[in-house]
């Protein structure tokens, strides 16, 4: 079963001096439980692809099936709800809200979901999974880089997502901390979480089961294990 199926996905940007074709017909499939690295030089379209997969943007043409549902033509509200329900993001710059503490940052996605669930136990459980239970009341500025990234991962995990999208998750961390974060991803993947990591670091790629290489708006080749 493919959690993600992308067919001939194109994304064009209209700029003042003409059209930029960021994606020129990408085909990609990711199976449930996979851990995939999306690699390529800058300008190859990997970030654009990640934004489309993360429902932050809509494709110019082509189809995107998330868990069997075609979501290429959904409105902003529907895409927002899909993000709140099914997609977890982890960013290079951690992207935590500075005035909120660890618990509140992790609970953020639940604020934007339409149905009310008992979120507290899920939030606490996911903070425990990244090993930060002792930091619940701390603000981001009181945490180390590695801890902040763990909070971001906990936030992504808390909603029990179909997919975690990580954009250069180790880019702002020292080697040892980055390695720890990668092992956390591996451990989560073993527990069944589907993960897509965008990176240009081949060390990060080596921790994934499959590497999808992009070049010039297209998937150039794949390396699988």
């Amino acid at each position: 079963m493919h959690i993600i199926e992308v067919q001939k996905l194109c994304k064009h940007y209209q700029l003042e001096h003409g059209t930029v074709k960021a994606l020129k017909g990408v085909d990609l499939q990711i199976a449930t439980g996979e851990c995939v690295a999306l690699m390529g030089p800058s300008g190859s379209g990997k970030s654009t692809l990640m934004h489309l997969l993360g429902c932050l943007d809509r494709p110019t043409s082509g189809n995107y099936y998330l868990n069997g549902q075609n979501i290429s033509d959904l409105e902003d509200n529907e895409l927002s709800l899909i993000r709140a329900m099914h997609i977890g993001f982890v960013f290079q710059a951690f992207n935590l809200v500075p005035q909120l503490n660890v618990f509140e940052n992790v609970s953020l996605p639940f604020l934007y979901r339409s149905e009310k669930v008992d979120s507290e136990s899920a939030i606490l459980a996911s903070i425990e999974r990244v090993g930060l239970t002792h930091r619940l009341q701390h603000r981001p500025k009181e945490l180390s880089g590695g801890e902040m990234q763990r909070v971001a991962i906990a936030r992504a995990l808390a909603i029990n997502p179909m997919l975690i999208l990580a954009d250069e998750p180790t880019g702002n961390l020292d080697f040892a901390t980055g390695k720890a974060i990668l092992s956390l991803f591996q451990e989560l993947n073993k527990q069944g979480v589907t993960i897509l990591i965008v990176t240009h670091d081949s060390f990060v790629g080596s921790h994934c089961q499959r590497i999808v290489m992009m070049r010039d708006g297209l998937v150039s080749h794949e390396k699988g294990s």
């Binding site: 934004h51 993360g54 932050l56 943007d57 902003d76 509200n77 927002s80 709800l81 993000r83 709140a84 329900m85 993001f89 960013f91 992207n95 935590l96 809200v97 500075p98 005035q99 909120l100 509140e104 953020l108 996605p109 604020l111 934007y112 979901r113 936030r155």
Partner: protein
């Protein structure tokens, strides 16, 4: 998002910059203070005017002898006017169909032999009917009667303060000395609340400090000519119903002009007209004051919009994060609207508290009557909330229309 959580997060965000938030609430705060204080002063002034006019009696028409110098009096008589007289009263009584009561009043220059400290009683010669027109209640005895007047009985009725200050002789059947004559006390009035007027147009008597004699008995005090003595100070008329006033006033004017040969040695005071005037004036006053206050509220709103715009551009990254974890445009707009509303509400409630306090201080230190009505509080609150929402609208819209990807990349 649960409303409670949204408010909590909103509060947290605006308290992140305490000083800035505080400064931006000041505009609204002082706007609300201005609205409340100005309306309170206006309302106080209105109440004061209305109370004074009501003391004159809303169904009454008063004809008052103008203060004329001896020369002016002589001139008036020469021109054929007989000044304000009992005959005026009798012809008005005969000609006006809607009167329920009419009474004549004469201010008498005589002094009480008893020493009443700083109170100087006003001594009035009155005819029967005055007590009904003024709604006087007796605490003891009776008022001046028809018989007292026709028999020129030397009796008197005391205002409550006079009776109190006279002590032992301030009781029924006691005799008091006025000028060179003895008068027997036949009645004492109930205390009547009285408010001193600032404007002479509305001025009324403090009946508690008044002493009434039957009209005519004042002859014992003087030996001057009777013609001059017959001059009244006031004729007071009361109509049955308020709506009969305009017609009665018109007829009164005609009769008086004819009788006084167009000499204006009197004035006609119509409390009802004064009241209408006072209300119209107050309305204009409130409108002007309200507009000034509304402008300061508007300025407060602009301050809030300014702060919210700054807040949006400072928090572009946060907006991107919230969008990434599932907030739609409306969630973002709502968050910023709520924050500007919270800032406004802080300012508004602070303003109400300060405005009430300020109004109180005005009444204490400036001696103006101020009245804070629930109406003025609710109008200033709703104006402030309206201004807050309006000024939050554009920043909220700006925040909501940010592209999430661009917002996330913002450094």
């Amino acid at each position: 998002m649960e409303f409670k959580e949204a408010v909590e997060q909103g509060l947290r965000s605006i308290l992140l910059h305490r000083l800035r938030t505080f400064l931006s609430t000041l505009g609204i705060l002082f706007g609300v203070v201005a609205v409340i204080a100005m309306l309170a002063i206006g309302e106080g002034a209105k109440q004061e005017a209305l109370e004074q006019i009501e003391q004159l009696g809303i169904r009454n028409i008063i004809i008052r002898q103008n203060n004329l110098s001896q020369d002016q009096q002589a001139k008036a008589i020469q021109q054929g006017s007989s000044l304000l007289s009992l005959d005026d009263m009798l012809s008005l009584e005969k000609a006006l169909p809607d009167l329920s009561n009419i009474a004549a009043l004469k201010s008498i220059k005589a002094s009480l032999s008893a020493n009443l400290q700083e109170v100087t009683p006003e001594i009035l010669g009155v005819t029967r009917g005055y007590e009904e027109i003024q709604g006087l209640e007796m605490s003891e005895g009776r008022f001046i009667s028809h018989l007292d007047i026709s028999l020129r009985r030397q009796v008197c009725v005391l205002g409550s303060e006079i009776a109190f200050l006279l002590g032992k002789s301030g009781h029924i059947d006691q005799s008091i000395r006025i000028g060179n004559a003895q008068f027997q006390v036949v009645g004492i009035l109930d205390h009547k609340t009285w408010r001193q007027g600032k404007s002479s147009a509305f001025s009324s008597r403090n009946l508690n400090q008044t002493l009434f004699l039957p009209l005519g008995t004042e002859a014992v005090f003087s030996r001057s000519d009777t013609k001059k003595n017959a001059t009244l100070s006031e004729i007071v008329m009361q109509v049955v119903r308020g709506e009969q006033i305009p017609e009665t006033v018109a007829m009164t004017k005609r009769i008086m002009e004819k009788r006084h040969r167009m000499v204006e040695d009197y004035q006609i005071i119509v409390p009802q007209e004064l009241m209408d005037q006072a209300k119209r004036m107050q309305y204009t006053f409130n409108l002007v004051l309200g507009s000034v206050a509304a402008i300061s509220l508007l300025l407060g709103g602009i301050g809030i919009m300014n702060i919210m715009l700054a807040s949006v551009s400072e928090r572009i990254r946060e907006i991107g994060i919230r969008r990434a974890v599932g907030a739609n445009r409306w969630h973002i707009a709502r968050q910023f609207l709520l924050e500007s509303l919270l800032i406004t509400l802080m300012g508004a409630f602070g303003g109400v508290a300060l405005g009430v306090m300020f109004s109180f201080l005005i009444s204490v230190f400036a001696g103006w009557q101020t009245i804070v009505t629930p109406w003025s509080v609710s109008i200033s609150l709703s104006m402030a909330i309206g201004v807050g929402l309006c000024s939050g609208f554009y920043p909220a819209w700006k925040a909501a229309s940010l592209n999430p990807i661009a917002a996330l990349r913002n450094e």
